[in-house]
Amino acid sequence: MGKVWKFGDDVDTDQILPGRYAPYMTGEAALARHAFIEYRPEFARAVRAGDIILAGRNFGCGSSREYAPLALKRCGIAAIVARSFARIFFRNALNLGIPLFESETAAQEIADGQEVELDVAQGILVAGERAFPLRPPPAFVCEILHQGGLVEYYRKHGRFPGEPNS
């Protein structure tokens, strides 16, 4: 069980983790405390491991800073469900092993703060009486997530997704 943190469209990486709070500026230990520090200051104080982010379109647009999804991972965010993701953010979050799902309806119909249960393997998000089937990610995404991220995937397989064994 986790709580939903709901966001709108076009949430950018400066909102998730402003550049001034980057590990480069303030050290990495404080990263989790700085997630949404200006955009939604109560987030870092109240977020609990297992909580889920539910967002609108183009979540994570802007900078390629991987410390934005890393901050969310450090906060214990179990998954991000959005109507759509910005390209670099999607790749960065996937590389860090954060489960990502696209869903039109879940993002619209589940309320902020609602308790939900997510079955990552089955791709089902349950909120109260309702179950939202989530679009299954492509096979290569599932393979990376299954290993817990790209570094783990690479260490196990010694190759990139889609690369023949040498």
Binding site: D10, T26, E66, S84, Y154
Partner: protein, 413 residues
């Protein structure tokens, strides 16, 4: 089957023919990282991947530009680490404080070549498409893996074709074109796709870099201009590097340049675009002329042409930060710097400047900035209570003269 420019480049880099939608593992000819990301890349490379060395030090470039010179002990420590890494790995291409912005130097120093794949740990790596390279931004983990392997994996993007014709009307620039396009397509209008710009043969390399750098602001994986004689004069262009006439595009957009007016992005989203006439009169405290999008000699020339013999308005700060040391040297040599200084400009060390709100012109609560950079997200340049408008160097100069957002066509001389 005909191929787009992206499909051709990725096919070469993969060693076999690919088309949009395919997963490909490709040779990367240059991978770069910057001071703000280097520490995390080194950590993933050495501690998590357990790599002993980078794959090929000749295909790695390092830049100190995001906070240059350092603004506090933490950033200074990060830069010490980056310099030590360069020494230990035998990486010769380290561009330290004052040399300029990574994307500018990647092209200026010939670190990226037409027809190749180049990666940057910065989203504006799409800039390299200006010379016909497939440049794209990636995060820490992907960059570390490219350092370790000299390769990366990617999904071959579908392409959008933008066909422009006609000529810009006076006071209107490549920046206005790309802002207009972002306004039309939206912040995710080119998501996961490459954008090919056709018909811009008349434009300079600097203008092409402006256009390609901002392709990422509509979500694009790459922005490319098919190389022409201008590029051939300065870079080796392989004979196969052109899009086929029967290539498949998911969308085609025709633009008449003469219809484009000076454009401005309104706070706090790049795709909230309006003609400058709609926001004329908004009071401004700071004008920033610089960044990888608009910090080149051409941009300084344009601003100087409006500022020459005039002085900026009371209560306005005009920060000029050239994109590279060479741009600064050229602007000093041809008198542009004197013109800007005489008009009241403040000049900073070549680098990213205040674009990302860490130093050299951070905004306070309630302040308004007109910036020639590429992002106006809330809090991007400092206080979340500040407002950022994006515009061209001409709009920046007119605004500095007026003290409020102004139409550059009214300040031409």
């Amino acid at each position: 089957m005909g191929q787009t420019l992206s499909e051709k480049i990725i096919s070469r880099a993969a060693g076999h023919e690919v088309q949009a939608g395919d997963l490909a593992v490709v040779q990367v000819t240059m991978t770069m990282t910057v001071d703000s990301i280097a520490e995390s890349v080194i950590k993933v490379l050495r501690q998590e991947l357990g790599a002993k060395r980078v794959h090929d030090p000749e295909r790695v470039a390092l830049f100190v530009d995001h906070v240059a010179p350092a603004c506090n002990p933490a950033t200074a420590d990060g830069q010490v680490l980056l310099r030590r890494f360069a020494l230990e790995e035998g990486i010769n291409r380290l561009y330290d404080v004052g040399r300029g912005i990574c994307h500018q130097l990647m092209i200026e120093e010939g670190l990226v070549q037409p027809g190749t794949v180049a990666l940057g740990s910065d989203s504006h790596a799409t800039t390299y498409g200006a010379i016909g390279a497939f440049g794209t931004g990636m995060g820490t983990t992907d960059i570390a893996l490219a350092f370790a392997r000299g390769k990366t994996w990617l999904k071959v993007p579908e392409s959008i074709k933008v066909q422009v014709h006609g000529a810009f009307s006076p006071g209107t620039t490549a920046k206005d074109l790309i802002l207009w396009l972002i306004g039309r397509l939206g912040a995710e209008g080119a998501s996961y796709r490459a954008v090919e710009f056709h018909g811009v043969e008349g434009s300079s390399l600097a203008s092409r870099m402006t256009i390609c750098s901002m392709a990422t602001e509509m979500g694009a994986k790459a922005g490319l201009v098919p190389p022409d004689d201008l590029i051939r004069q300065h870079y080796p262009v392989p004979e196969w590097l052109y899009p086929d006439a029967d290539a498949t595009y998911v969308q085609e957009i025709m633009i008449d340049l003469s219809k484009i007016q000076p454009q401005v992005s309104l706070p706090h989203q790049v795709d909230r675009v309006a003609p400058v006439s709609q926001v004329q009169g908004v009071q401004v405290h700071q004008v920033f002329l610089g960044s990888c999008t608009n910090g080149r000699l051409e941009d300084l020339h344009l601003a100087a042409s409006l500022l020459s013999g005039r002085h900026i308005a009371r209560g306005v700060r005009l920060l000029v930060i050239p994109a590279s040391h060479r741009v600064l040297m050229d602007a000093v040599a041809d008198g542009t710097m004197s013109t800007l200084l005489a008009a009241g400009a403040t000049v900073g060390t070549p680098g990213c400047g205040p674009c990302l709100g860490r130093h050299l012109g951070v905004l306070g609560a309630g302040e308004v900035c007109l910036s020639t950079s590429n992002r106006n997200f809330q809090g991007r340049m400092g206080s979340p209570e500040a407002s950022i408008y994006l515009g061209s160097p001409a709009t920046a100069a007119a605004t500095a003269l007026a003290g409020f957002i102004a139409d550059p066509r009214e300040y031409r001389q």
